[in-house]
């Protein structure tokens, strides 16, 4: 379990290059560093649900990112995204 404030990195993984898939981790966040805001509970993995497969339950976190670490021209001050534990690694 990741605590609020924990630094994390979104996995630098590109499943869409390997064939049919359904992923809820946006393209713009892959490989990016962020900070855990809080856990939002746990939910069945949508990557399996989308194919009507048995879906293990995963912890879901709200994670905050610095917009200008993603796009130098970004106009906001913070980006917060729901991400499953399977996409997060310690940073």
């Amino acid at each position: 379990m990741l605590a609020p404030g924990a630094p994390v990195r979104v996995r630098d993984d590109w499943p869409e290059t390997r064939g049919p898939c359904h992923i809820r981790t946006p393209h713009y966040l892959r490989g990016r560093r962020g900070t855990v805001v809080r856990q939002l509970g746990a939910f069945p993995n949508p990557e399996d649900l989308a194919f009507a497969r048995p879906a293990p339950t995963l912890a879901l976190y709200h994670v905050a990112f610095e917009p200008r670490s993603i796009w130098p021209d970004a106009g906001g001050d913070e980006i917060v995204v729901e991400l499953y534990e399977s996409w997060l690694e310690a940073a």
Binding site: T17, H27, Y28, R30, A50, I70
Partner: protein, 109 residues
């Protein structure tokens, strides 16, 4: 440690529904007006709701089916036109309806 330097991952292959920050839409103005839903839209929405409530098809399967629509078609179809296509795709994939049944139903429709 300083935050990671911005690295350019924008050239990585990207699914067309995955639109956050994508340059080709950055100059697109936003149509902020109200657009009433049509009877078609509302019926498709209701069918999706019933299929979800009855466990016939999840919202995740709906999304997968929408994302599977080729990019040019995705851009051409309206929001709920994508939905009905995904619903049909999923009902066939799950064996809820067969090709032959759908073909016959389309001929009568």
């Amino acid at each position: 440690m300083t935050p990671s330097e911005p690295t350019d991952t924008s050239e990585r292959p990207r699914a067309h529904h995955d639109m956050g920050g994508v340059p080709k839409f950055l100059c697109e103005p936003i149509d902020t007006g109200a657009h009433a839903l049509t009877p078609f839209d509302r019926e498709v929405d209701a069918i999706r709701g019933i299929l979800g409530a009855k466990g016939v098809m999840s919202v995740d399967e709906l999304r997968r089916g929408i994302e599977a629509i080729p990019e040019a078609e995705y851009a051409r179809l309206s929001y709920y036109q994508r939905w009905i296509r995904s619903i049909a795709d999923n009902l066939l994939a799950r064996g809820v309806i067969s090709d032959a049944e759908l073909r016959a139903a389309l001929e009568q429709a």
